[in-house]
Each structure stands twice: as C-alpha cells, then as structure tokens.
C-alpha cells in the first residue's frame, strides 16, 4: 500500500504508466470529500492529487479559468469572488453529509462527480461548463481534449465524458472551466405552509413564467428548520430564488407575488440570508445529521417527484425534500434499509430518471448498485468505453459497478 503524491503532470503520467504496467489498481483521490460515494474501494495503491495545485490561467474578461486538478475548490471560488465571478453551476459540497468538514474538495473532483446545485436547470452542471482537460488514461498515456474557448466543436467532447466518471476513465491533471459573472442581487421568495402537491403546482406555475426563477425548492414541514440554522422555522417553505441586477430582481419578485396570489403567506429573504439557505439546500444539509442513515439523490422529472414520494411513504419511513431546479428529490430512509429495489421500481413508474445511493453503510454500498443500473445495451457500451480508456482496469476499479 503506497500513497503516491505527485506534484506535476509528468509524475502523474509516470505513476499511472507504472501502475498500468504492473496491473496494480490505483484509488484516485483529491481531498477525499466524496470518498464515501460508490462501491467501497480495495485498490492496492492511492494516487493522491491534492498536491497537484495551482490556478494556471484566469482571464475574467474571457470568462475562463484553468487549474491543476488538485486545486482546492474553495481557493478557486475565493479567487472568482474577488473578481465578481463564480462557477455558475454551484458545485455542491458533500462534506457535511458525510460528517466531514465543509469547504473541502478539489476542482478535479468537481468534474469527476459532475457536481451541480439548485441552479442546475438554468445554469447547468460541471459538464456544461468544462471547456478542456488534460488527463492520463488508464493506458498510461497523457491526452487532452477541448480547449480554453467557450465555443468549440473540434473532435469528440471527451471533457464531458469525464463528467460523472468518478475517476474510472482517467486521472485529470488540468481542467479548464467557463466562469461567469456572479449575480449582483439575490432575493428569495418563500411561500409558507404548502403541502407537497400544492408546492409542486406553485413551482410549476412560477418556473413557467418569465420571472426567470433561478432556483426552486420545497422543504416540507420540519425539514425547513434544518437549513440556515433554523431561521426559517418549522413550517414548510417553498423557496424561489431570483438573481440579477437590482431593478430587475425587484420587478420579477413583484411579478412572482402577483402570480402566486393567495397561494400562502409570502416572505422575502435577501442577500446573505438567501445565499445561506441555498447553500444548505445545495449541500443536502437537512440530512447532514452525523448518521449513516441511507440518503438517496434522485434525479427525475420534477413534476412527478411528490407523487413518487407519496407512494413511497406508504411502504417505507422516509424524509424527503425537493430541489426542483436541481431536478432532484433528496430522500433519507429512516429505518436504515436503503429500499433500493422499491425506490428504483417506483422511479421507473414515475417518468424514469436515476437514483444514487450517496450515503449508506459500507455493507450496503458493497451489496447494492450505488449508481442506477443501466439497461443491458447501455451498460455494455459503458463497459466498452471503460475498456478503451482503462483496459487493465487500474483506475478506481469497481467504484461505479
């Protein structure tokens, strides 16, 4: 058991080439903030990329930033904020859900896990912002894809293929992301006391309007108290975020109020208080309880979410909340059994999608498919792709199995 800690891309290349020649599996690691996701690893050696750091290019006017893969996300977000910019896809921080520290994670991990947040539908995920990569395949070869410009269709988009590959296709050495201006003003409108179905109707109504709601979430009763240090209180909160320039935000909030009419009592939350709420929704804070109770991240047609949860509740004890613009339902299984077959069966009946068992005891993660199983032809195609990048199966073997 050796931990390799390369500090430059040549060392990454030589390490992976050596592992390929030895046919000796490597666990690829940044800060390990997402290590609890996926089938537990039993790799012989570890490739620790946390010392492969540094922003190598940042041109705010060109909306582009390149960094070595192990650069802390927190450093990048700080640099961007100093220039009034951001990663618009709001990469979520899995740390708290696993009882870890907040603010960890590397930029390479952002791509490997295809992170996103409550602006997902409007602003995309990591896959929508990645412009280029340099990486080392499991063949022990350094390759690149994409570039540093925002519009590029030259060759296959291997950079996107790396999104959600969880270190199983290549070890990244450099990544280039599109960056965007941060919103000048942010205001959240909260409708209080709605039941799930009324909340779904209110969200569909407002998201289909021209008010350009950037994020929408529904926190049912009691769940609402678990974000932003309890400032929202226990009562259910249906949250709509509006971002942009001041006069526009004021106008759109007014339009939403008219649209919602008498849906329920309305509250306006602005600035930092709003940002804290959305950060907590993004990071699944309501279920960051220090336990190992199974947590599911379910990506599905938003309009079907509450109906699926209603049916699920009849057969299992479950807590749920809805990150609509993230396209997500988050579930915590209260009795400790992940109920994978039940949930995935219901999901298929409710428009399809995919359920990822992001948190569970290692025994459950070893016994159940953590990632949604694919249809046979698709699964075979994915396996062929893995083979083309990593024929000796040395990069995070089995993690996505």
């Amino acid at each position: 058991m050796t931990i390799f800690t390369p500090t430059n891309s040549d060392e990454v290349l030589s390490t992976v080439a050596w592992a390929a020649a030895e046919e000796s599996p490597l666990e690829i690691l940044g800060h390990g903030s997402k290590r609890g996701i996926g089938r537990p690893q039993q790799s012989e050696h570890t490739l620790d990329l946390s010392k492969l750091t540094g922003v190598t290019l940042y041109e705010p006017a060109e909306l582009v930033l390149s960094a070595k893969a192990g650069t802390p996300l927190a450093d990048i977000e700080k640099l961007l904020a100093e220039n009034g910019q951001q990663l618009a896809f709001e990469p979520l921080d899995y740390g708290p859900l696993f009882g870890g520290e907040a603010g960890k994670g590397t930029i390479g991990g952002v791509l490997a896990a295809n992170l996103s947040g409550p602006r997902r539908l409007k602003a995309g995920a990591a896959r929508d912002h990645i412009l280029g990569i340099n990486a080392v395949s499991g063949r022990g070869e350094a390759f690149k894809s994409g570039g540093r410009v925002v519009k590029n269709v030259t060759g296959y988009d291997l950079s996107k293929l790396m999104a959600n590959s969880w270190g199983t296709l290549a070890a990244f050495t450099d990544v280039t992301f599109k960056v965007l201006p941060a919103a000048e003003t942010e205001v959240t409108l909260a409708v209080r006391g709605l039941l799930d179905d009324a909340a779904a109707a209110a969200m569909a109504l407002t998201l289909g309007s021209s008010a350009e709601v950037s994020s929408a979430a529904h926190l049912p009763e009691r769940i609402a108290a678990r974000v932003a240090g309890g400032t929202l209180g226990n009562e259910a909160a249906t949250l709509l975020r509006v971002e942009g320039f001041g006069p526009s935000v004021a106008y759109r909030i007014a339009a939403l109020k008219t649209l919602l009419g008498k849906a329920g009592p309305l509250e306006e939350i602005s600035g930092e208080a709003s940002r804290v709420i959305w950060r907590d929704v993004r990071d699944c804070r309501p279920f960051a309880d220090g336990s190992e109770k199974p947590v599911w991240r379910v990506s599905m047609t938003p309009g079907e979410g509450h109906q699926m949860v209603l049916t699920l509740r009849m057969q299992a004890a479950v807590s749920a909340f809805y990150d609509w613009q993230g396209g997500l339902v988050w579930l915590r299984m209260e009795e400790g059994d992940p109920e994978a077959a039940l949930l995935r069966g219901l999901l298929r009946k409710h428009g399809g999608g995919h359920a990822t068992l992001v948190r569970a005891a290692p025994s459950h993660r070893a016994a159940l498919p953590v990632f949604e199983p694919q249809a046979p032809a698709l699964s075979a195609l994915s396996a062929r792709l893995k083979q083309e990048f990593d024929p000796k199966n040395i990069l995070n073997p089995g993690r996505m199995a």
């Binding site: 050596w18 390759f143 590029n152 269709v153 060759g155 293929l161 990822t356 024929p391």
Partner: protein, 498 residues
Amino acid sequence: MSGLAMPKPDDATMRRRDEIVADMRIIVPGEGVVDAANSMRAFESDGLTAYRQLPLVVVLPQTVAQVSRVLKYCNDRNIRIVPRGSGTSLSGGALPLEDAVLLVMSRFNRILAIDFPNRVVVAQPGVTNLGITTAVEQEGFYYAPDPSSQIACSIGGNVAENSGGVHCLKYGLTANNVLGIEMVLMNGEVMRLGGSHLDAEGYDLLGVMTGSEGLLGVVTEVTVRILKKPETARALLIGFPTSEQGGQCVADIIGAGIIPGGMEMMDRPAIHAAEDFVHAGYPLDVEALLIVELDGPSVEVDHLITAVEAIAIRNGSTTCRISQSEQERLSFWAGRKAAFPAVGRISPDYYCMDGTIPRKELPRVLAGMRELSEKYGLGVANVFHAGDGNLHPLILYDANVPGELDKAESFGADILRLCVKVGGVLTGEHGVGVEKRDLMPEMFNQIDLDQQMRVKCAFDPNHLLNPGKVFPQLRRCAELGRMHISGGKLPFPDIPRF
C-alpha cells in the same frame, strides 16, 4: 473536388449494389428507397457544396425499427452508412460516400410530446430547429439554440453537430439544451440516454454523442428543454474606429457582469457589403460595428442599455444607436443576418470559415488575416460572435477561375492555423466534417486523436458509420487497443510517497 482523400470504395459492396437496394426495399417499403442517379442528385452534397458524391443508395426510414434493421443489416455485411438530417452542414458532415448507404432522417418529422409544466419537448430528429419553437410559441415558449440555418436544419443534425447560434453565450449550445436522446448503434441496438430528467446515471454518453458528427450513432428521438420567451429585447448598434476598441468594449461589458443575449461584431468589408445589400443604416466610416442585444423584463433591459451605452462611449465609440422600437431592433439585425448573402453579391463565391479565438486576440488575428489576404490575393470579410470569440471569416473567390477554390481553401486553412496558434480552435460550431479533417493534427497530437478514435471503437468497432469524417487517418480498433508497456519500473523514483 480538390485534393480530399475519402475512404476507398469497397469493391464487394459495389458489386452487390442491386442486392443491397432490393434488401433495403424489404426493410423500408414504399417510397423510402431512392436508387436512380437523377433522384439521388438532390442528396449528393450538403451545405459544403464544393464537394459532391452520389451515394450507393438513399434510404429514408420512417420507424426506429427500420433504422435499427438497416444499421444491423449493414453492420453484418460490412457496408458503410452516412447519416443525414436536413443536409445543412457547412463542413461536409453529410457528404455521401460512393459505397455507403445514405440514411436520411427527414421522415422522422413529428413532435411527440410537449410538457409545459416540466418545460420539455420530445421530437423526432427530422423536426426542424425552428419547428420546435413554432410548436410551443403560442404558450410563450421557445427553443434557445438558433443556428442561422434554423428554418431548415433538423434537431437531430443539431445534436450531431452541437449547433450554436447568436444567443449561445447566454443560453448555451445544443449540448446544454438537450436532455435526452434515443439512438441506434451501428449494430442495431436501440438505447436511450437521459430523458426529461437531468444528467446521466453513469458516463455522460449524451455529452459525447452531442457533436459527434454522426460517427457514433443515429439519433432517433430528442428531448429538449424549452424556455419562456424574454418579455422584451432591445439592441444597441455601436461603431468604433478600430477593432481594438470594439474588442475592449466587449471585454468591458462582460467585465461589468453583463451577459447579453447576443453580441455580434462585423469588420469594415462585412459592414459595407451588408449596408449595400439591405440598407440597414449602418455607419460606413467605422472599422468595427457591434450589435449588443439585451433581453429580459423591460426594467432590466433599460437598466443594462444605459450601462452598455456608457461602456461604449468610454471605449471611444463614434456612433451608438439604441433601438426605440421592435422594428428598429430588427433593422439593426437585418444587415448582420444578411451578411452571408450580402457577401455573395460582391463576390461570385465565398467560403465561410469557423474558428474560435480568445477574444483578446481579435486584433492580432484580423491583422494576420489582412496579411494572408494580400498573400493569396483574395478578399475576406469578417462576422464575429463577439461574446464567445467565434469568428466567421468569409473568403471571397471565384470558382470559375481555375485554382481559385484551392487558393481559398489554403487561405482558410491558414486562418484556422492562426486561430489555433493564438490559443483558439479549428471550429466553433460548424464541425470538422471533411472540411477541417486534415487540420486536426494542428490541434491534437496522435495520442489525443487515438483516444478519440478509441471512443469511436466502443460505439462502432468496424468504422462503418460516417467514415472519412473528423479523423485524418483511420486506425483499426484492434491496433488502437494494443498497449505498449514500457516496463514495470517507476521512472520517477523520487516521487513523494507514504
């Protein structure tokens, strides 16, 4: 055709043509098989009209089962397939091959579902880009990517090419607006990627399919997200004495945190050609003309118009008009939208290029282009998606002058080399196709290209789907799969380890 080498026709396939045509008629009965030379003429080229080739046979399937059977039939018999949507590719992506079945998807022309509460549309791949917007606009929605061929180009073709348009800085490319597809692999397997939910459960195959130029699979259904139309849009028409000032103005707009709905620049030759053609009222004494369009609620648009105007003046604009009516806004765009035909009026032929550069390199690239223009003795006019650095030089030439097409192509290749040299890429939105195929090594080394071809091997190991496109040299998958192991010792013995 100038010196473009396409894969050598397969003799066995050519000899079996009659049998193949007959079998295609069994799989696709009725009007769906075209084999007479004069009828196939309509399919002999796409938007890159300098290249023409009659296919082996044209097949127009109507069902997914037919597509699957055609592909499996061809896969089993080692017959090549070239897929085609509406045939508007500007890079020769749908150029037929003499020994290949041309699989035309135009009869897949129905919208299958519109879901307003979840804001998605499910369409067959032959539906036009504009057809999606037309289907939902009565409810105030639209489909955002708007390539200039949107009236004709198909949504399936948009997926294959990852099409852009003038609004993609703010609203994204096809890849950012497609949620799911159904596709058929060369072996006939039908599979679904994504749906009306977001992201993939495993590898992002939808991401790699988008922009794969018909080399990986045939798209048979597309799910896209639709957006609510902005309440209003207004535009500014800004002239600058130099392209540097125009470029700096663009940088400052973005630096102020403003992402306009559209931001287009034209150089002097393009301005003059457009003005002569449509009389849009463009100033003729400027070197760079910028159109900035802002969309959203009118209170936001008014706020940003003021901000952009101030930035323009600060950068030394000599004219700055602000649209006061929808009619005036459209008149600002009229010249830009007519730029290609306008250039077509001042030159017998023109060749449209498509590089992307880091925006700050614009003055250097324009200067380089002027030098090349003198060297080749051919004029060039430029339109530029200024927000995202996507440059469309239009090279003026006369195909009836012997050698001038070759000269135009060499000029174009030099421009693209220049784009790569300053940190840009060969193609921003038109695709590699056959046009830029042989320039791929300017951007990628052999390892990079081999890894891309290995992706192809996972989808189509016999290189039967759209061969001769994108990759300058096809290598057999068995050869690509081999690993060259350099021995089991660590070349960096001093690497930190614990």
